[in-house]
C-alpha cells in the first residue's frame, strides 16, 4: 500500500518540479535574451516581470483547443502527450542524491536512451498529424536531426560506461566522490578517494572525457532542438515547425517537454561527467569540506545547482550562435562529432586496459 502511494507521489513530485522549472526557465531565458541584447526583457507583469510566465500559462490554459479540419485527429491529439511522456519518463532513472532515485535500475542509462528516442516519434506524429507543410517540414528535419545526433550521444555514453563498467546511474554517480568503494584516480595517477571534490569527477578522472563531454553537450543540444540546432522549429523560416498548429494546453505540453528535455540532458551530463550529486569542494587536510557538504539535502542542492548552471549555458549559447543550415548540421554530426566520439571511445578502451586495470 505504502509502495503504491509512493509510486503515485513520486511522479507527481517530478511533474510539479518540471512545471515549476519550466516557469522559471522561460522567465530566465527571456531575461537572459534581453540582457545579452542590451534589452530589459519582461518588465511590466509583476516586479521586474516576475509574474510574466504565470500570466502566459494562465493564458494558454484558457485557450480553446483547435484541431485543423484536415488534420489526422488521433495523431494530432496524442502527439503532445507522447512527446511529454517520453521526456517525463526519462526522469525516472536519474539520481538526485545518494540512493535518492525514483527507480534504481541496472539499465538506467540504456533506459534513458531508449525512452528519449520515442520523443522523435511524437514529433513526427505532431508534424504529420497537423497536415501542414511547415509542420511536416519541421518534423522531417527534427527526425533527421534527432536520429543523427543519437549516434554521438550514444558513443559518448559508451565512452563513459567503458570506464565506469555500469549502466546504473546511481552507481556511476557514487563512483565520482568520497563515498565510493573503488579507487578514483585524478587524471589516472593521483589517488583522490579521500580528497574527493571536483578531482574525483569523471571528466577529471580521464582527460579525454572533457572532449567527450563537449561532444555530449553539443549533441544533446541538438537532441533538445535548441538553438543553434533549432531548425525543426525555426520560427523565421517554418513559422513554428512541428508545433505550428498547436495552441492552448497542447502547445503548453510541447513547450513543457522542450524545457524538461533541457533539464533532463543537463542532469544526465552532470551525473555522467560532472560528479552527479557529489560536492565540488575537496577535503583539504583537516578542513573536511567534502565530508561537510555531502548528504541528502546537499546532494539535491548540488544536482540542482550544476544542472541549472548547464541549462544556463544552453541559454547563453542559444542567444549567441546563429542557427545552422541543414547540411552544416549533418556535416557537423557525421564528419566532426561522430569521428571524435569514436576516437574518444578508442582512448577509453585503451585507458581501461592500461591505466585502470
Amino acid at each position: 500500500m505504502l509502495d503504491t502511494i509512493l509510486h503515485i507521489l513520486v511522479p507527481i513530485a517530478i511533474f510539479t518540479f518540471i512545471a515549476a522549472f519550466t516557469l522559471f526557465a522561460v522567465y530566465a531565458e527571456r531575461k537572459i535574451a534581453g540582457f545579452v541584447q542590451d534589452r530589459l526583457g519582461p518588465m511590466e507583469t509583476g516586479k521586474y516581470g516576475s509574474l510574466q510566465t504565470i500570466a502566459d500559462i494562465l493564458k494558454l490554459l484558457q485557450k480553446e483547443l483547435i484541431t485543423p479540419s484536415l488534420a489526422d485527429k488521433i495523431l494530432f491529439r496524442i502527439a503532445p502527450i507522447i512527446i511529454f511522456v517520453a521526456v517525463f519518463t526519462g526522469f525516472a532513472v536519474i539520481p538526485w542524491a545518494k540512493d535518492f532515485i525514483p527507480a534504481n535500475t541496472h539499465t538506467g542509462l540504456f533506459f534513458i536512451m531508449a525512452i528519449i528516442s520515442i520523443d522523435a516519434l511524437g514529433i513526427l506524429m505532431a508534424g504529420w498529424g497537423s497536415n501542414n507543410k511547415y509542420s511536416l517540414l519541421g518534423s522531417m528535419r527534427a527526425i533527421a536531426q534527432m536520429v543523427s545526433y543519437e549516434i554521438p550521444v550514444g558513443l559518448s555514453l559508451i565512452t563513459v560506461v567503458m570506464l565506469t563498467q555500469t549502466l546504473n546511474l546511481n552507481e556511476i554517480a557514487i563512483g565520482q566522490g568520497i563515498l565510493t568503494n573503488g579507487s578514483i584516480k585524478f587524471l589516472g595517477f593521483w589517488e583522490v578517494n579521500e580528497i574527493g571534490g571536483f578531482f574525483a569527477w569523471n571528466i577529471f578522472q580521464a582527460p579525454h572525457l572533457i572532449v567527450t563531454y563537449i561532444i555530449f553537450f553539443i549533441a544533446t543540444l541538438a537532441e533538445c532542438n535548441r538553438a543553434p540546432f533549432d531548425i525543426p522549429e525555426a520560427e523565421s523560416e517554418l513559422v513554428g515547425g512541428f508545433h505550428t498548429e498547436y495552441g492552448g494546453i497542447q502547445f503548453a505540453f510541447i513547450f513543457l517537454a522542450e524545457y524538461a528535455m533541457m533539464f533532463l540532458v543537463s542532469m544526465l551530463g552532470v551525473v555522467l561527467f560532472l560528479g552527479g550529486w557529489n560536492t565540488p569542494l575537496p577535503n583539504i587536510g583537516a578542513i573536511r569540506l567534502a565530508d561537510w557538504t555531502t548528504g541528502l539535502a546537499w546532494g539535491i542542492f548540488w544536482t540542482l545547482t550544476k544542472s541549472l548552471f548547464i541549462v544556463g549555458v544552453q541559454m547563453w549559447i542559444r542567444w549567441t550562435l546563429p542557427r545552422l543550415r541543414a547540411d552544416q548540421l549533418m556535416s557537423l554530426c557525421w564528419k566532426v562529432l561522430t569521428p571524435l566520439a569514436f576516437i574518444c571511445m578508442a582512448i577509453s578502451a585503451i585507458w581501461r586496459i592500461l591505466i585502470i586495470a
Binding site: I32, F35, D38, R39, L40, W316, I317, L321, K335, V336
Partner: protein, 187 residues
C-alpha cells in the same frame, strides 16, 4: 583536417560567447546618456538601451516637429496655413467683422472671426509648412508627441474658442452691416 575544423569552430564559438557574456554582465547598468547632442554619446556602448517609455523619456530636439498648436488670440484668420498645407488637414471658416476686432501681440489688426479652426492630426504629415507661412506666428509645433486616442475623431483638434451663439451673433452682425450698407447705397 577534422581537428582543424573542430578547433576553428571552437575558437570562433568562444569568441562569440565571450562577447555575449560581456553584454550579459554589462546589463547591470543602464546607459545614462540619452541625449544625442552630447559629445560622448557614441562612446557609451555598454548597458541596457531600453527606454521604459511612459516612465522615462528621451530628450527631443528643439526644432522637432510634433503636434500643432494654435494661439487663437494671435490668429488673424488669413487662411494661409490652410492653403500651404499639402494634405489639406486644416479647415478654417471665417466671419467678417464690420470693424477691427483688435490687435494681435505683434500688432497686426484682426478683422475676421475664426468660426472654425480645425486641424486633423490624423491627416497631418508634420511638414511644418503651415508654421512657416503664418504671418503672426500663431501656429506652432510643440514638443508634445504622445496624443494617441481610441477614436479617430479625437485627433481632429478644434482651436476656435467661439461658441455657437457667438458664431450666430457675429454672422447676424455681418448680415445686418451688409444690409445697412446696401440700404445706404440705395438712397
Amino acid at each position: 583536417m577534422i581537428f582543424k575544423t573542430a578547433s576553428h569552430a571552437f575558437r570562433t564559438a568562444i569568441k562569440g560567447l565571450s562577447l555575449t557574456v560581456k553584454h550579459l554582465f554589462g546589463a547591470r547598468r543602464s546607459r545614462q546618456e540619452l541625449n544625442i547632442k552630447n559629445d560622448n554619446y557614441f562612446d557609451r556602448q555598454e548597458g541596457i538601451v531600453t527606454v521604459q517609455y511612459p516612465a522615462e523619456k528621451m530628450p527631443i530636439p528643439e526644432v522637432a516637429r510634433y503636434q500643432l498648436q494654435v494661439d487663437i488670440d494671435d490668429c488673424i484668420v488669413c487662411d494661409l496655413c490652410a492653403k500651404a498645407c499639402p494634405v489639406d488637414c486644416i479647415e478654417i471658416e471665417a466671419i467678417k467683422s464690420p470693424e477691427a476686432i483688435g490687435k494681435t501681440s505683434d500688432g497686426s489688426v484682426k478683422r475676421l472671426y475664426p468660426a472654425k479652426f480645425n486641424i486633423d492630426m490624423a491627416k497631418c504629415m508634420y511638414c511644418g509648412l503651415c508654421t512657416v507661412v503664418c504671418p503672426t506666428e500663431c501656429i506652432v509645433m510643440t514638443n508634445e508627441y504622445d496624443r494617441s486616442s481610441q477614436k479617430l475623431t479625437d485627433l481632429i483638434y478644434g482651436f476656435s474658442d467661439m461658441t455657437d451663439e457667438q458664431v450666430a451673433q457675429r454672422k447676424a452682425e455681418w448680415t445686418q452691416f451688409q444690409a445697412e450698407k446696401e440700404a445706404a447705397k440705395q438712397k
